[in-house]
């Protein structure tokens, strides 16, 4: 089959790899009909995620049709149309039983790696490094889905792939971020980052009763899209974010702050340049500028919710500020299975059509160039969906001369 493979930092190729097979009793094989590039895939593209191996198949947002099931895969049959969560959870350990699905004890075969780094291991993820299990991802024609009796969600016929695909990650992730804010009627929620997760966090905050949502971003088309969702927008290149937020909230600060940026934040303040310099010298793993600002901005007793991904030991983390204000910090990978069914219901009821974020529709074969476009945020790129088997825009057999490589050699 054809699959999008990571070949090294900033090098992505579509290659022919072996078809997946059933390995365990609770497996299923899915024929992918639609898949997407996630913002977190860009961390891999940029070389920020350790334990990636040459040739690893990428992708954790995908959906498709069940073509084979293991002998213990109950509740799923060949021909079912499903959307698959990006986390892999057994459904039976103490964590899954408490609805903490992304902290599953049993799905990561490389749990020892995560334990070496973090002391404990959470759930494995599709196509997201060996630290997270080494499972081949879903930017491919077929995927093996472990624990398929508790992961994939069946999708009703009336809904298109584009309407339900984002139940695989970013819609539940944005929604959990908003839910973690404990929004009360009348609350103001500030959202850092208007990428796909930020966009869903904005919509979800309104769904959960926020009176006002303030979106913080620097890219005009992303700010425009946030405004379309009803958010007030702040371009941090043009104003002082902390001052603006104080001003908007009568000096009090937002009731809750969402950091939908994560470990590769951009910024214009002194600490942001300090982070960039340290990262360049391999002295730091993360650039937590957005998080620092969210903590500084949040009102006393408020909540800072962190759907953005962090990987290491943060420098200049203002815990004193968080303590002084009695903040609540909530974070972590999304507990997918706890959100997917109820968000599917919201889509069915017409409360949201998640396809609003799609800006690019391409063939799987065109992935390599699109990774760069998405990373550079060129062409107003916000969300890329890909169709396996579709005719490519660029001929697939040009060897190493992919648009990506050309761009690399030019730089």
């Amino acid at each position: 089959m054809r699959a999008v493979c990571w070949e090294g930092k900033e090098t992505i190729r579509v290659e022919t790899v072996p078809d997946p097979a059933i390995l365990n009793p609770r497996d299923a094989i899915i024929k992918v009909t639609t898949t997407a590039i996630c913002g977190s895939d860009l961390h891999i593209y940029n070389g920020s995620i350790p334990t990636m191996h040459k040739g690893d198949v990428l992708g954790h947002e995908f959906m498709g049709e069940v073509v084979e099931v293991g002998k213990e895969t109950t509740g799923l049959a060949v021909g079912d149309r499903v959307v698959v969560p990006f986390t892999i959870s057994c459904g039976r350990c103490a964590f899954c039983a408490r609805q903490l699905w992304s902290l599953c004890d049993n799905s990561n075969p490389n749990a020892w790696m995560a334990e070496a780094l973090y002391g404990y291991s959470g759930a494995a993820l599709f196509g997201y490094s060996h630290l997270y299990g080494g499972y081949p991802g879903g930017q491919a024609e077929y995927v093996r889905v472990p624990f398929a009796d508790v992961g994939p969600l069946k999708v009703p016929e009336g809904l298109s792939d584009e309407q339900v695909l984002f139940l695989s990650d970013i819609f539940p992730t944005g929604y959990m971020a908003a839910e973690n804010c404990g929004i009360q009627p009348g609350d103001t929620v500030a959202v850092w980052g208007c990428g796909p997760v930020g966009q869903f966090a904005i919509r979800s905050a309104f769904m959960l009763g926020a009176e006002r949502v303030v979106a913080i971003e620097r890219i005009p088309d992303r700010l425009a899209r946030a405004a379309e969702s009803g958010a007030d927008t702040l371009n941090y290149m043009e104003l002082d974010v902390l001052e603006a937020l104080r001003d908007l909230t009568g000096g009090q600060g937002p009731d809750a702050c969402i950091d939908a940026v994560g470990l590769e934040a951009h910024g214009t303040t002194l600490d942001a340049w300090y982070d960039r310099a340290k990262m360049k010298m391999y002295l730091a793993t993360d650039r937590p500028h957005a998080l620092r600002q969210a903590i500084s901005a949040c009102r006393k007793g408020g909540t800072v919710s962190i759907p953005g991904v962090y990987g290491g030991w943060l420098d200049k983390f203002p815990l004193g500020t968080a303590f002084a204000k009695g903040l609540t910090l909530r974070m972590g990978q999304t507990h997918m299975q706890a959100y997917m069914p109820k968000l599917l219901e919201r889509i069915e009821r017409g409360e949201i059509d998640p396809s609003f974020i799609i800006t690019h529709r391409i063939a799987l074969e065109d992935a390599p160039g699109m990774y760069r476009t998405f990373r550079e945020k060129d062409d107003a790129c916000l969300k890329v969906v890909m169709t396996p088997g579709a005719a490519p825009m660029t001929p697939p057999d040009r060897g190493p001369q992919t648009p990506d490589d050309q761009a690399l050699s030019a730089s």
Partner: protein
């Protein structure tokens, strides 16, 4: 079948006998050819090797009067390597205990084992994957068994691997979960078996036991062992 090796001495031990004999003869020959004090000393140093080669055991003065393959001798007090690991499972204690008690099922999650055969009377024969496809074998007996609480064993004399261990099971979280604690002791042997142990346990012996316990938990809770690719 493999059970016959219960009382006979293993191939590894016999190989070591021959090596000791060879070393002893070589030292004796080298020493006697020098005809000086140093030569006499060298020749004298051959004695324990010759003794091991002929008798099949080290002289008492070398092994401090203890049989090397006796667990009491090799593992008593603080001797030997001790490994302690524990894990918690979301399963009732009875189910966890019963699964572990089926010794022939242990290779399903202890990947370094090839098979375990219960030979009756609390005794069992263990076969592990040794280097170069030559298996490492030993016999063990259960020395203490309390249903849903404790299982303890030790290797029998003549084993390649002198070891003893216990697994204790306890109720936690008001009976909803079970905690399993493993305490394993072994005496690091020399020769080929020693090399195998070194490969298996490396610098961090507890890691192997930890991975075994993790797979035990996966098998019992999730019904399967997590695998990302066919090779793993």
């Amino acid at each position: 079948m493999a059970m016959t090796s219960t009382s006979s001495r293993s191939t590894v031990t016999r190989t070591e006998d021959w090596m000791a004999l060879g070393t002893g003869i070589a030292l004796l020959a080298a020493g006697l050819s020098r005809r000086a004090t140093s030569g006499a000393c060298l020749a004298a140093s051959a004695a324990p090797f010759l003794y091991r080669g002929v008798s099949g055991r080290w002289p008492d003065i070398v092994s401090r009067g203890l049989r090397a393959d006796s667990t009491k001798a090799a593992l008593g007090g603080s001797r030997g390597v001790h490994v302690r690991e524990s894990i918690r499972l979301e399963k009732p204690i009875g189910e966890v205990y019963r699964f572990w008690r089926q010794l022939d099922q242990l290779p399903r999650f202890m990947f370094h084992l090839e098979r375990v055969t219960e030979t009756g009377d609390g005794k069992s024969h263990w076969v592990a994957k040794g280097p170069g496809d030559v298996p490492i074998e030993w016999d063990a007996e259960i020395v203490n068994e309390r249903e849903d609480q404790l299982l303890a064993w030790q290797s029998l004399p003549g084993s390649d691997v002198v070891s003893a261990g216990s697994v204790t099971f306890s109720d936690v979280r008001q009976g909803r979960s079970t905690q399993v604690r493993v305490h394993l002791q072994y005496s690091p042997p020399a020769g080929r078996t020693g090399a195998w142990i070194a490969t298996l346990f490396g610098r961090e012996p507890s890691q192997t036991i930890r991975e075994d316990l993790r797979r035990f938990k996966q098998l019992l809770e999730a019904g399967e062992i997590a695998r990302a690719t066919p090779g793993t």
